[in-house]
């Protein structure tokens, strides 16, 4: 079995199963010869075997399957009628196929299996007059002779048929393969045993149950955290761990490598290339990237469409390529990788790219956008018009792409599974279409927020960052343009949508604070103003009833840790609903410049930093991806363990490091002054351990793209940089954490993420 490669092994397992089904089908067919459905099913099975065996270069197998297929197609089309001896011939074929498969499995090749007889049998059975079986054909000698060979017809056939008089030499062909097939039973199970086919519905049900378990676990963990019984606490922690592992395990059962849908693409590309007279090389990276089966299925068609598009419209003819100074052979790359809980799939071609002018012109002609609006659009936004319903890029509709599925359908399909699609293109050098797909649909990371007293979940996929403004800052930073509120986010105007207004409720936040969740949808950014940010958690997505679906604001609901139901916001729908057309245009106009700038430096590695003040006018930048959560804790809840400060947090003991003391800053509040009631805390977590880093105030989240760095080697710092005209120190996160919890990295022998974090800062 080791010698077999995966494809052959899959083929064997599948074929064996199919053959078992085929036996049953054939026998059943005899009872009900008219069943077109059954015939089609048999036909498909044999067709598949033929196709695959041809592909795997099993010539004999292909030969047998081929004649079988011929006969079946005639049967299916009603050209031939199914007579018992034809059934026999088919059964003989099945046996021969089985024998061949057995030989392939044990010997790795087709061996000496004789297929000529089966082929002859079928050929003969096919040549038989399509006479109705009822007519006792006193057939021509030829037929009789042939049929004679065809086996023990009398045994099977109740009705007297031509075969009856000559049973003698018959027995030979069929019994011969039959025992052979039986012999093969044992080794064949070897392959079949190592895998098991499970109904996807069962997996779905399991996933559902695990979802429930995770929720119950969350509830219990919350409850246990308030208990003092150590045994109970320990059992709770174990439950926590096991539930997580179970969740992961069940999720894995539904995972399949993306190769499953990629494996067909080389052929598609080759055929298409030939058809269009183009020479295309397909490069694939990350074939082994896994994602949920359901999602995989959902991505298949959109992906195929994108690939077709690239070959058809993207890559130029060899002549055009040479003229443009490119190699004659075009390269189409597929790349898949995991990235922050999502699967990113890119379809990249080095073709002609997309000309925004042509896109714009076409969109105007089709009335998708007014010339005025187009003139004000940024290039990146013009490209997104491709996804508008009713848009087709093909100057002439070729028979290659544009068959039914437009880019708008691709986009709809991707968004239906919670994914996003974006397109980048450089005229002359190529196009990159990027799909971001969640790993699984059932459990998604989400941010829970509060609005007008209720909690809502926002999928993390759409969340870009959080901005919290106190009353004073909010008054200055939130501006109005023609009645629409905007916030100046690092110089870029972000349209604001107040969730309470969308809902027609009144916010219960009256202190002037503004909490903005910066969301991205369909290439647009907007800020959703909520009352409060609660936290991030993994939520189990539940469907909502039809009454709520029609509202078009909620993509589902979930049950939070405390048992409360929370609605999951459909960010796309929210954006469409809340951003009125003119607001959108305005936003596009304003963001145009910065979008272009962002695209221009997209290649450069960007790092997002959390800016915090630590007192004494000093500012510290902390790489955002090391930050798990931002919290406020009550000063009163800080306890002491030996010389260290800790706080109880979510059922665990969280060591505290006060950054002002750690870095020797003069705290804005002296030791004799009363400490503030709450502490601003940055929670950093790795595996099961967390530490809380206390800062004076969290200021902003910024991009580290254009900052000027210098290396001031001070204890606890990695250097400094200039952010927004102010010198900011770069925190050595590792050192800060070790100050709070010297054992933090004790188990981290594999030099995991913390070490990497350090590197990224420098």
């Amino acid at each position: 079995m080791d010698g077999l490669d995966d494809i052959v092994e899959d083929f064997l397992v599948e074929s064996h199963e199919n053959l078992d089904q085929l036996d049953r089908d054939l026998v059943a067919l005899e009872q009900d010869p008219g069943s077109r459905e059954r015939l089609s099913s048999i036909f498909r099975t044999i067709h598949t075997i033929k196709g695959t065996s041809g592909f795997l270069a099993f010539g004999k197998l292909e030969q047998v399957a081929h004649v079988g297929e011929n006969m079946l197609s005639k049967l299916r089309d009603g050209v031939l009628e199914l007579t018992p001896h034809r059934t026999d011939a088919l059964l003989a074929m099945v046996d021969t196929v089985r024998e061949l498969l057995g030989s392939i499995e044990t010997a790795g090749g087709e061996g000496a299996v004789d297929v000529t007889r089966a082929v002859e049998l079928i050929t003969a059975a096919m040549d038989d007059e399509p006479a109705p079986a009822a007519e006792p054909a006193a057939a021509e000698p030829v037929v009789a002779e042939v049929v004679a060979e065809v086996v023990e017809a009398p045994v099977v056939v109740p009705a007297p048929v031509a075969v009856a008089p000559v049973p003698v030499p018959a027995a030979a062909p069929v019994p011969a393969p039959a025992p052979a097939a039986e012999d093969e039973q044992a080794p064949r199970r070897a392959v079949a045993d190592s895998t098991i086919r499970v109904d996807v519905d069962l997996l779905d049900a399991l996933m559902q149950l695990v979802g429930e378990l995770v929720l119950t676990r969350n509830q219990i963990v919350q409850y246990v955290s308030r208990q003092t019984d150590t045994d109970l606490v320990r059992a709770g922690q174990r439950l926590n761990l096991i539930a997580s592992e179970l969740q992961e395990g069940v999720m894995k059962t539904r995972m399949q490598p993306i190769d499953h849908i990629w494996s067909k693409l080389p052929r598609v590309v080759r055929d298409l290339g030939q058809q269009c007279g183009k020479s295309v090389r397909l490069a694939m990276e990350g074939n082994e990237t896994e994602l949920d089966k359901t999602l995989l299925e959902a991505v298949k068609d959109p992906l195929t469409h994108l690939v077709r598009n690239s070959v058809d419209h993207g890559i130029e003819t060899p002549e055009a390529r040479r003229a443009a100074g490119k190699p004659a052979e075009g390269v189409l790359s597929l790349r898949a990788r995991h990235e922050s809980g999502q699967v990113v799939v890119e379809v990249i071609d080095d073709g002609a790219g997309i000309d925004p002018a042509r896109i714009g012109e076409s969109a105007v002609r089709k009335g998708l956008v007014t010339p005025d609006a187009l003139a004000r659009m940024a290039t990146a936004d013009v490209l997104q018009l491709i996804f508008a319903p009713g848009f087709s890029t093909a100057a002439a509709v070729t028979n290659v792409s544009g068959r039914g599925v437009g880019m708008d359908v691709v986009k709809t399909n991707i968004e239906a599974i919670g994914g996003t699609i974006e397109i980048e293109s450089e005229p002359g050098t190529g196009t990159c279409t990027r799909l971001r797909i969640p790993l699984t649909l059932a459990i998604v990371p989400a941010l829970t927020v509060e609005c007008a007293g209720d909690r809502y979940a926002i999928p993390q996929v759409s969340l870009q960052e959080l901005v919290s403004l106190d009353a004073e800052k909010a008054a200055a930073a939130v501006e109005e343009i023609g009645g629409a509120q905007v916030y100046r986010l690092r110089g870029e105007l972000l349209p604001l949508v107040r969730l309470a207004d969308v809902f027609g409720l009144s916010s219960d936040r009256h202190d002037g604070h503004v909490v903005i969740a910066v969301l991205r949808s369909e290439g647009r950014r907007f800020g959703l103003v909520v009352d409060r940010v609660i936290n991030t958690e993994e939520i189990v997505v539940k469907a909502v009833g039809a009454q709520l679906k029609s509202i078009g604001l909620y993509s589902g609901a979930t049950v939070l840790g405390d048992g409360t139901v929370a609605l999951i916001l459909d960010v796309q729908a929210l954006a469409r609903r809340a951003l009125r057309a003119e607001t959108v245009e305005r936003a596009e106009q304003r963001t145009a410049a910065s979008v272009a700038a962002a695209t221009a430096r997209a290649g450069a590695e960007r790092q997002r930093m959390l800016l915090a003040s630590i007192g004494g006018g000093r500012r510290v930048a902390i790489p955002l991806d090391t930050v798990t959560r931002l919290e406020q804790i009550r000063t009163a809840s800080v306890e002491r363990v030996g010389s260290r400060e800790v706080v109880q947090y979510r059922g665990a003991i969280l060591p505290i490091v006060r950054l002002d003391r750690h870095l020797g800053a003069t705290s804005s509040y002296g030791y004799d002054e009363p400490a503030p009631e709450t502490l601003e805390v940055i929670v950093y977590a790795d595996r099961d351990r967390s530490v809380a880093i206390v800062v004076e105030e969290i200021l902003d989240i910024i991009d580290d793209s254009e900052a000027k760095h210098s290396d001031i080697d001070d204890m606890g710092l990695l250097g400094s940089a200039v952010f927004g005209d102010k010198v900011t120190e770069l925190l050595d996160v590792r050192a800060a954490i070790l100050a709070a919890d010297p054992g933090f990295y004790a188990f981290d022998t594999a030099a995991g993420s913390p070490a990497r974090d350090d590197l990224m800062v420098v």
């Binding site: 469907a543 909502v544 009833g545 009454q547 609901a557």
Partner: protein, 148 residues
């Protein structure tokens, strides 16, 4: 579905409940369970009859305020509702009612078309009335009632 619910002959079992002083009934087959007042999660912008969402052992179920659906005045603020969970087309939906009453055997012979006095909104949702001793039992069309 509504025709299936309409009784023609024989007897049926109706789970009955009170709503604004009237007795209503739904066929017991549709009723999954009856719960006392549950914590509701409000759904902004939902049709007025959608009272919210409840957590039914981890399952999210829409709750429909039957008083609103039938065009009756809202329940007094201090009055607790009772939740009747029904299963329609494989999906669980729940109704908020004033109080639960008995399961009643009814005879098709006692069935009559909705009284003419019923107003428009309620009329669509009431299949008819069973004349019980001393009072009327209004048969609710569950599948229409859930389509809030």
């Amino acid at each position: 579905m509504s025709t299936a619910t309409a009784p023609r002959t024989g007897t049926a079992q109706l789970a009955t409940f009170w709503l604004d002083g009237d007795l209503y009934g739904v066929e017991v087959e549709h009723v999954q369970e009856v719960l006392r007042a549950q914590k509701l999660t409000r759904v902004p912008l939902a049709p007025p009859a959608v009272a919210g969402l409840i957590n039914l052992r981890g399952q999210v179920v829409t709750a429909i305020e039957l008083r609103e659906r039938l065009g009756r005045p809202a329940r007094a603020a201090d009055a607790e509702s009772v939740v009747i969970v029904v299963r329609m087309h494989g999906e669980a939906v729940s109704f908020l009612v004033d109080g639960i009453a008995d399961v009643v055997h009814v005879d098709a012979a006692d069935f009559e078309q909705p009284p003419d006095t019923l107003d428009g909104r309620a009329r669509e949702l009431i299949l008819g009335a069973y004349k019980l001793d001393g009072r009327l039992l209004l048969a609710l069309d569950v599948s229409r009632a859930v389509a809030a």
